[in-house]
């Protein structure tokens, strides 16, 4: 099935969990926030939350930034 991950299409296995997706991405779960269809996923439920076809997933973390001129937009 196909989801949109950080704005890009991505094939994932049917019913894959958020935790498993993060592991596939090599992302440390404790350093990120995950938004699923515009709703924040509680980190306690990363393992129990399954993805569905067409889901829009955002994986967000912290980067260097001071103020509005400092990001690489």
């Amino acid at each position: 099935m196909r989801i949109t991950l950080n704005g890009e299409a991505r094939e994932v296995t049917e019913g894959q969990s958020v935790a498993s997706l993060l592991a596939d991405l090599g992302v440390q779960a404790e350093r990120v926030a995950v938004e699923l269809n515009l709703k924040i996923v509680d980190r306690q439920t990363f393992t129990g939350t399954s993805l569905r076809d067409g889901d829009r997933v955002e994986v967000i973390g912290f980067i260097g930034g001071g103020r509005s001129d400092d990001d690489e937009r």
Partner: protein, 257 residues
């Protein structure tokens, strides 16, 4: 001066110099500069994680949340809705309830949209955030921000990244008198004397990024800023002499031949 702590919303802050993490050459330089600055509060931006490069490093591996107080910002947000979304994501990332709230009004000046700022601050405070609002040097707006529950305000000294220094010291002074919460001067500092001046005027802290990261020698400038903030703070506490037009001799006349 070591007991000269700044306390906001029950949190003790060791350093009155707060720094951003943008614009550095790499994470090593970021780390060294921040170490040299003696800063404890470090601002970070909230962005999509790089998922294409598994080897990409994480800023927090260099700036540990165990050592530093990480202050996520909503930089790049041009409306209330976006600012709320970024603030909530930042908190969900699990580092703290603090957020440096920016609702930017205009790309050219990066001046804050103060109406949107107050609106967003009100909502986030209700949700339990500790909101540090990046605002204009407008005393009335600062009062409104305090009214909606901000435990501090962060007025600009000049446009972000401009390095123009404190363009309106009188407004800043009025602002400091107008609110009964700590004032953190944010944006516009170009060099050490600007930071010292902000502290001499009575600011409780100064936040900067470009002035350090953009200097020819960022690590050296970071150290200069540390001393400037100290010097300014000490001078403020010591109380400067009044300005006079004519001379007053320092040496006594008595005993002269």
């Amino acid at each position: 001066m070591s007991d000269d702590r700044l306390t906001i919303a029950g949190i003790d802050f060791r350093s009155r110099l707060w720094v951003g993490t943008g614009k550095y050459k790499d994470f090593v330089e970021t780390q060294k500069a921040i170490e040299a600055s003696g800063a404890e509060v470090v601002t970070v931006a909230v962005r999509r994680v790089n998922i294409t490069d598994r080897k990409s490093e994480n800023l927090l591996d260099y700036i540990s949340p165990k050592t530093y107080k990480i202050l996520p910002n909503t930089a790049g947000c041009y409306n209330v809705e976006d600012a709320l979304r970024y603030a909530r994501l930042a908190r969900a990332a699990g580092i703290s309830d603090m957020v440096k709230l920016e609702v930017i009004g205009d790309e050219k000046t990066l001046f804050p949209d103060t109406a949107g700022l107050i609106e967003a601050a009100k909502i986030l405070v209700k949700e339990g955030f500790i909101v540090f609002p990046y605002t204009n040097d407008d005393p009335i707006v600062a009062k409104r921000l305090v009214d909606v529950g901000c435990p501090a305000v962060m007025p600009l000294a000049a446009p972000i990244g401009s390095g123009l220094g404190i363009r309106n010291p009188y407004n800043l002074k009025i602002l400091m008198e107008a609110v009964n919460v700590p004032v953190i001067v944010d944006a516009g500092v170009g060099t050490a004397s600007d930071a010292a001046l902000a502290m001499e005027y009575g600011a409780d802290a100064v936040l900067m990024n470009s002035a350090i990261a953009g200097a020819k020698e960022p690590i050296l400038m970071a150290e200069a800023m540390k001393y400037a903030v100290w010097a300014g703070r000490m001078a403020f506490k010591a109380g400067r002499i009044p300005r006079k037009l004519y001379a007053t001799a320092s040496s006594p006349i008595e005993g002269m031949l």
